[in-house]
Symmetry: C2
Subunit: 605 residues, 2 copies
């Protein structure tokens, strides 16, 4: 009894449970005589533990029961964190984190077995650890039990497995199983659980999941089973995060086709010079679909215990459609996709139309992971093409890179990467926004004409394509088309300035002309803004501009603009194999990058 007295005096938060057969009572426990069947929480000074004091046909036992998670996000499952039952953003926030187990170790089995021990280890590593800590008597009183339970809504988003001596990792809750008894290992014991996320946040799922552990008292005398107490932990499913051009490249992906040998050769040199790997998707996999940018978007998911890349597979589903699932999905390489309703996809669903800005601060609000950028129809348009709703819903639901919708439907192909990109910079905000600019192009061409180079030829060596500076400047139709294009880009420029908090000197206008076909625009000469950014090396579509003293005036201007930022330009001839097919270097490549060092859970929302 002395123990119980001490505990009584020394403990503060947690559970004291007295079983019904309490017959002998010291004075200090007299109050409890009035409540022979209850638990009571007391003031105590030892942090991070819930204690239970119980009396059952014998001496008073002290029992600790705590369902524990990594609520302080340090990679360790601490004891009974007082904040484990809620979730808060920010560096002073709290709450455990769950990964969607979307890499190839993921299986649909109801339990895991140790047949392939190495794969099992990898699988367990993707899951969040959860520990049931108990200490006290060797067993609970007759009929009492511990039950783990989740809500119907959470059941399709999470599965919990546990360690077991009898069977490897049986499923506890998830799917059809909302509630299951958990065997009690008393004395001083720990039972390890593994919690697996099944769904990314989306329009109908905010991303929060609760797991409850209740002690139930046996039903007696016709009463229902009653709860003695419930411990609860909350997880948030980690969002899918995109990586901007300012992050270091790891791998570059391109397609091999029957006609792009020279392109691949130049790309290989650029990629190797940039210190990363070139991965070539062979013809039998790409089936002639060269638009590596459009089929996939690389991102990653992150938690204090594990991090891995995740590819978002576009509903575009061109001939490259099997590549992300069959080739990219692998050990510690996840896969997620969204299927459009009724197959209503358009060219705007290609992921050349899905980009992300570097980190920005807008009117005092920080976006340390940048902002996603997509292209849609102009809002007053009565008809127009849009990115499909399921993908837009998915992107908005990730929350940590709040999207910006630009107007890209004015382009025939309709992708934001046709008129904008970001490059790293050593000053100001750490980057520049590059925009295609017909105005800058006309200014450059007029300068050439005024300098006596009106007869210099564009498309030199490309045969029938050749055209002089004078001819370009006298083409009134081309001028009208580019006035139209400039007005479309200017509207987007304004949105980008407002939504990314940019000043004019954060933006560089690149000399690029367009043509308008079927009321929509395509690049007239190779679209230099549609580049690949690998650290300080830029792979730029070779523009075939007018030559002055043997040097392409467009390349000279581009090299000068980028040189001011310490960036090195490599011009890659993509004329026949990409430009003529309405794409360029960026459309035909994709880059997997290093993740942010900033942790998404430290965002202040």
């Amino acid at each position: 009894m002395v123990i119980s007295m001490n505990l009584w005096l020394h403990f503060s938060s947690g559970y004291i449970y007295l079983a019904p057969s309490l017959t002998f009572l010291p004075v200090a426990l007299f109050e409890l005589q009035m409540a022979p069947l209850r638990y009571i929480s007391l003031v105590y000074s030892r942090p991070k533990a819930a204690y239970e004091l119980q009396w059952h046909r014998g001496p008073v036992y002290l029992t600790e029961i705590s369902l524990d998670v990594d609520a302080d996000r340090d990679g360790q499952v601490e004891r009974n964190n007082p904040n484990k039952g809620s979730w808060m953003w920010g560096p002073n926030g709290h709450g455990a984190i769950l990964l969607v187990n979307c890499d190839s170790e993921h299986t649909c089995r109801k339990s895991l077995d140790s047949e392939h021990q190495q794969q099992l280890c990898l699988y367990l590593k993707d899951m969040s650890p959860m520990v049931l800590r108990t200490s006290g008597p060797a067993k609970l009183p007759e009929g009492y039990k511990l039950t783990m339970h989740i809500s119907q809504g959470d059941a399709e988003c999470v599965r919990v497995f546990r360690t077991s001596f009898v069977k490897d990792y049986p499923l506890v809750v998830g799917g059809e199983d909302l509630s299951k008894e958990v065997p009690c290992l008393w004395g001083n014991a720990e039972m390890n659980f593994y919690v697996e996320g099944l769904r990314f946040p989306d329009k109908d799922f905010e991303g929060l999941i609760s797991i409850n552990l209740s002690m139930l008292e046996p039903s007696s005398q016709g009463f229902p089973e009653t709860p003695i107490f419930t411990d609860r932990v909350v997880f948030r499913v980690a969002p899918w995060i995109m990586t901007p051009n300012t992050l270091d490249p790891v791998e570059v992906f391109v397609c091999s086709t029957t006609d792009n040998d020279q392109f691949l050769k130049r790309m290989r040199r650029l990629v190797e010079n940039s210190g990363c790997k070139l991965k070539i998707c062979p013809e039998d996999m790409n089936r002639g679909d060269r638009w590596m940018q459009d089929e996939i978007e690389f991102g990653y998911i992150d938690s204090p215990h594990q991090r891995f890349p995740v590819v978002l597979d576009s509903p575009r589903d061109g001939d490259l459609q099997d590549f992300p699932y069959d080739v990219l999905l692998g050990q510690d390489f996840g896969y997620v996709t969204r299927t459009a309703y009724g197959k209503e996809v358009s060219s705007l669903d290609s992921f050349g139309n899905l980009e992300v800005s570097p980190p920005v601060t807008v009117n005092g609000k920080n976006y340390p992971l940048g902002r996603i950028i997509i292209g849609v129809a102009f809002p007053t348009a009565t008809e127009g093409r849009n990115m499909t709703k399921v993908v837009q819903d998915f992107l908005w639901a990730q929350k940590v890179q709040e999207p910006i919708a630009l107007f890209s439907d004015w382009l025939l192909v309709g992708h934001v990467d046709e008129f904008m990109t970001f490059v790293p910079a050593p000053d100001k905000k750490g980057f520049r926004l590059l925009l295609a600019s017909p105005d800058a192009s006309y200014k450059l061409f007029r300068g050439l004409q005024n300098g006596g180079h009106g007869q210099a030829k564009m498309f030199d060596g490309l045969g029938a394509e050749e055209i002089t500076v004078d001819e370009i400047l006298s083409d009134e139709k081309l001028k009208a088309e580019n006035n139209y294009v400039q007005s479309c880009i200017d509207w987007n420029r304004d949105v980008l300035k407002r939504e990314l908090g940019l000043d004019d000197d954060d933006i560089i206008d690149l000399p690029i002309l367009f043509r308008v076909m079927e009321n929509r625009a395509v690049a007239y000469y190779p679209d230099m803004v549609n580049m690949i950014v690998l650290g300080k090396n830029l792979g730029i579509p070779k523009p075939f501009g007018p030559k002055v003293d043997g040097r392409c005036a467009l390349e000279a201007e581009m090299t000068s603009l980028m040189g001011g930022l310490g960036l090195s330009c490599t011009y890659i001839d993509d004329f026949a194999s990409y430009h003529k097919l309405l794409g360029e270097v960026h459309c035909g490549s994709n880059v997997r990058r290093e993740p942010f060092s900033f942790k998404w859970w430290n965002l202040e929302m």
Copy 2:
């Protein structure tokens, strides 16, 4: 041209627009020659205005175009707030606020007319003001137009009306109309708009609405109409807010029935003593349904420009169902309801099962508007009654009073107000949580027995109901039933402590016994916790407890407990007219209270 030069030098953010016919150019405008058809934003020092400089077949004009709202939440529409295009919570936040126009002035007409001038004024007052400010030349260049536009998703949530000399308040956008040209009043002009919210936040609607104003350039030479610039404002729809017992009462609502004259008489005295009004719903309206608490919940909506009460009508739909719409809905008294899918309502959908706590702070997180409390089935229950999903979704979506789900399905009627309430207190957290407590009741009864009052009678004067203290204490079945009830309440006590950040001394246990019928509990004697709280006056069900020296021991205990908080108890006999029908004073009444002085938009989320 001097004006343009000055403007050039002095202005910074906004739009400079030069029409195509620019032929004469001073040196300072030379750069613009390269961009004859564009807008340019410049650095300027005058805050809060977007300026447009335009040249069109004549001198250079300065034009200001700004769509303005009350983004700083001071009740005034300021000029071009730089934050008007986004929404942020908190005292340092920003973003305009919209009310759901759910009071009786609301009509479905496509425009408003001035036939009933007074009602029209009230109607306009419920809407958020929005102003289009223009200054510059008398008209736009030929073919240019201003268009207001909203997204498809927002169209069912908002309507915008404008002032007009020709017709009163024509609809601009909303419903079927996503986009409409706005007439230009140039020179120095202001056009007033009125923005009306149509939907409360809900599971599929976060509450944010964008309204855009674009200047469009005429289509020419076969190009589509193109946007010159777009101004955007963002509103958040005000949430529905509940009022806890700690707020001052304004009106008390009760039903008149054939058998409750005496009850009404006592209530009238209590209400008048408390300085508020008693409103009696007559028999022809209530049709014998006396459960005023259960059919409705009073709340309010608030904005910097307007505030009014809004009644939430329960899907319970008893015989009182017409009362909220037919009687309460009125000028500056709003109405909202949710219809359950397939009529699947249970007793847990009555609003005796919907309460709200006073303001609390939990682990450092502030809830200055308190937290909503509802009752549901115990989470491990394989079957059980719950509050219907549509109402739960609505409550969670309001966000500002994050709900807590308690376990109330153990009660036959199943309402949280059967075992808990809050009363104001002069100390600690400003309130106490009162909980029904069989333990406290047994302790009191044992004390009476030990003091020689074992033969004192409960239900004195109620004839067949009478029973002695000794008889109650020797009823083993009653004891077992109350052990079960206590375990259910204790589980809820723990949840309330954790979710409201309460200590044991924030809670007072009231001596109340239950019986278990059909496996679920009902109050054995009038359930004192089911009280009405009117400032410092409590209207408490008269418990008919054992009399000691002529005084009811239960009333004495209750009066003593409440007296310690400076609260005055009035015991109201509801035995025949409410208690026997499984309800009490709280179930049979409802209180409309003053709103919080705290403004919901100042919450930090």
